[in-house]
Structures are given as C-alpha cells and as structure tokens.
Subunit: 246 residues, 2 copies
DNA sequence: CGACCGATTGACGACCATCAAAGGTAGTGG
DNA sequence: CCACTACCTTTGATGGTCGTCAATCGGTCG
C-alpha cells in the first residue's frame, strides 16, 4: 500500500534528477510530497481556460494535450504531453489558466497542491530551479512548434512532429524495439500541426509510401531514423536533454 | 553620472513590481545589481543559437526579435521584444541557446551577469519567482502565436499580432495618442506570422482599406480598437496582465 | 544623381482546405 | 453470432488562400 503510493513520487524524483542532481534531503522532500492519484478516461478535460487552479499535476500514465479553440471552433493543439510531463506547472505562478488540457488516452495523473509545491520550492531552491527549468524546456518546444507550423511544408512538419515524439518517448523508456504508441487520431495530429484531417491522411500515406514510418493502429515504428530526421529537418537540441543525443 | 547609471535598474524594478510587490530590501538589491549598458544598431545579432551565455539582458530601448531559420533559409520570428522584456532570461537555466536574438531597431540593452542574477534569486526567492513568472508569461505568448499562426487566416492573424503589440506597448507607456511604432518591415512581419512579404503587403492593404489600421512609415494608429480586436479575435487574457484590461 | 531598400503590383501555380461520400474497424446489444 | 452503430480512415473532386517569380514604384541616403 505504502509502496504503491510512492510510485508517483519516485517518478517525480526521476524526472527532477534528469534535470538537476539531488541531495538525499531533497529526495526525501519529494518522497514525502503528497500526491493524489486520479484516473481519467480518454477525451476528458482535466483543466480549462479561465480556471484558477490550486494544484498542478504530473502525467503518470497515458497522453494528454494542451489546446485552445478559435472563435469559429477550430482547435489547435499546443502540446502533447507524455508520462513525466507537468503540463500546468505554470499555474504555480500564473493565477489563471490560458489553456485547456485534456486527456488523449486513458490517463493516470498525480496531483500536487500548489501550497505543497511552493513549500518545497522555498525550502529547497534547487527544486524550484528544476521546476523552473522544466517550464523553460517546454517553452523551447513551443518555439520549435512555431517554426514547424509556420515555415515547414506539411510533409516535413509531420515528420518533425513524429521525430520529437520519438525522442521524448525514448527518454522516458516508452520506445521498445524501435516502436512506440501515439494514441492520437489523424484529426488530432492535424490539430497539432495546423492542418486538416484530410490532408494529414494524405501526407501520412506519403510518409508510409516513402518508408519513413510504419503504422499499425496507434503504434508507430521508424525503419530508418536518419532518413526521418532528415525529412523532418529534425535537430533535437531544442529539447535540451542533458544526456542523450538522438 | 550615478543617476544615469541607475536608469536601467529603475526599469528593472518597475518591471518586477508589475509582477510582484517588492520590499525595500528587495528593491535595493535590484538597485545595486550591476547592469552593463550596450548600444546596438539595427539588424545586429545579439546572441545566437548554440551560445552558452554567461549573462542575460533586458531591452531598455528599441525592439528586438527572437528567430530561428530552417534549413532552406526561411526565417521564422518567434517573438517580438519591446522595452522591459528579457528575451533570453531562459539562459539562466538552460545551458545553451536554441534561438537567435537580433535587434529590429537601434537598441539599448542592459546586460546582467548570470552569477549576479542567480545570487539575488537565491537571496530573495520572490525575485526568483518574478523572473520565473516573466518566462511563464512569455510562454503564454508563444502558445497564442501557435494558435494564431496555425488556425487563423492571414487577415485575422495580422490583426491579432497588431492587437498584441498595441496592448504590450501600452503597458510600458509606448502608446501615445493611440499611436505607436512598430519598427519592422513588412518582410519581418511576414516572418513573424509565417507568411510571405507579398501576401503580407496585400493583407495590410486590406486592413487599411477596411479602416482598421492607419500606417505612416513605421507608425501605426488604430481608429477603432473594438473593431480591430474583433477582426483579430483578440482576447488579451493570455498576456496575464494584472492591472489593465484592454 | 544614382544606388539601395522596402513597398507595391501582376501573373501564375501549388499547397492545402473544403465538401461529400465510401470503406474499415471496434464496440454494443439483441 | 450477427446486426447495428459510431468513429476513424480513406478517396475523389473542386476551389481558395497563399506562395513564387518578376518587375515597377517610391522614398532615403551618401
């Protein structure tokens, strides 16, 4: 029971240790951070624009996405979040949310009260730095998405998105035998890349025909990583991973 | 002389006080922060992708922009920075830069050594929070740009960009008589919105013809703010201003 | 006055959106 | 077990937004 309850804390420790080295004391502080586990089905809103959250969460299992909608009902997905991500960490310091966050698949989420997070940030400034850095590296991903959606053709754009997901999933151990899951429909990928589902479908067919990706249901494999990187003009530097270079 | 040297520090104090309330001690800490003033001409790179900066800067006067380039040489402007902004604050915690930053006009910049910034952040956690918040609100702008460039037609997109600049410039007192300066060519505005200069030119003509903006050289005025907001689907919430509502 | 840079215009074409319909697949219930 | 449903994927046809190429215009500066 106690063992089970510490899993999300261990996950958070791993996450933060991928950013900064931790002392035993800091590790213990996270170990004892109250985290409330919530299970959600696919396609549920977790938080909404305008909310004043009193807690933030880490994705423990499953995929979530950040999105906004325009007046005429078009949706733009701004970020795809995978296990280990903390999509609304910003709410620690921005009083209300300017985004919606929803699950893409069934998810297990770990909620942390803002007051608890603020407390350990004050007590252990290096943890604050680590969280800050986490938001900064998300920021770098936003920047790359602006470039990707703004200046790349759809073929390249999709290849780039798949490259990013592969590298990020790999970093949290979710790529096995060069194969990973993207639980997103073509319509959702289109919303992430600012395209229409129809065009997304056609370009995905091209990518498959060119042997750059192989898709079975929501599982994707990449036969030739270097070729896909090239097609996607993908350079993982913006992800700011310390260890791995893809 | 001493008076003159404190101007950038006063500017930083004003900036931070627009985010959090400061104690006298905190104010003094910023007052004594060493800031090195550098003047730059237009179209100069300030920092470049791959750099490992040991300092970060505040724009004191003039306009700067963050940009990236694709392999085929297309440029995407990711952010337009105005006086009071700290475009590479992220470099405090991300070891290398994933972006280029250049001046759009002649600029006066105030450089702060990382070690000095880190010192006051450690000593005064509320200052760290303020800087963190500053990066978070920039992040919110990135998000809105993804929506803007991804899901809005060019006409709406440009209107939105102009709205954003007007509100941000207004917040730092750079709008007078409903008129402000955007020292950016049409080509640069095109780079910011993911369009071509030719199309930018045509859409700007439309906006002028519709009476939404009046342009003289690089000076813009907005005859009917509500109409422009409507055309740009502009809602300033994402800017996270505490006081003003546009 | 000439050179240069940005704004403007025109012609043309490509990429991608839109609309509509059909085919596949998974899940549900009788 | 099969019919039914719902959702996603796929396909076709068509059109619009915007990109591309190229030339001209206009203002500024040395």
């Amino acid at each position: 029971m106690i063992q089970a309850l510490s899993i999300p804390n261990d996950m958070m420790i791993r996450k933060i240790e991928s950013i900064v080295a931790l002392s035993d004391e800091e590790r213990q502080a996270i170990k004892h951070l109250p985290i409330k586990i919530v299970d959600m089905k696919a396609y549920q809103d977790i938080v909404n624009m305008g909310d004043h959250p009193t807690q933030c969460f880490m994705v423990l299992e499953g995929f979530a996405c950040v999105y906004k909608e325009t007046i005429d009902g078009n949706r733009q997905i701004l970020a795809i979040h995978i296990p280990g991500d903390m999509p609304d960490l910003q709410s620690l310091h921005l009083p209300f949310l300017d985004i919606n966050i929803a699950t893409l698949s069934a998810c297990k989420l770990g909620f942390v009260q803002h007051e608890d997070a603020r407390r350990i940030c004050e007590q252990y400034p290096r943890l604050a730095t680590a969280f800050w850095r986490e938001t900064l590296s998300q920021s770098a991903i936003y920047r790359e998405w602006i470039v990707n959606n703004g200046r790349r053709k759809s073929y390249t754009r999709i290849a780039h998105l798949i490259c990013e997901l592969k590298v990020r999933l790999n970093a949290v151990g979710l790529v096995r035998n060069n194969r990973f899951i993207i639980p997103a429909s073509q319509a959702e990928l289109a919303d992430a890349t600012g395209m229409t589902p129809v065009h997304m479908n056609r370009v995905l067919q091209e990518l498959r025909a060119d042997g750059l990706i192989k898709v079975e249901r929501s599982s994707v494999s990449i036969p030739d990583w270097e070729a896909l990187k090239l097609s996607g003009e993908f350079d993982p530097l913006y992800l700011h991973f310390v260890n791995e270079v893809a």
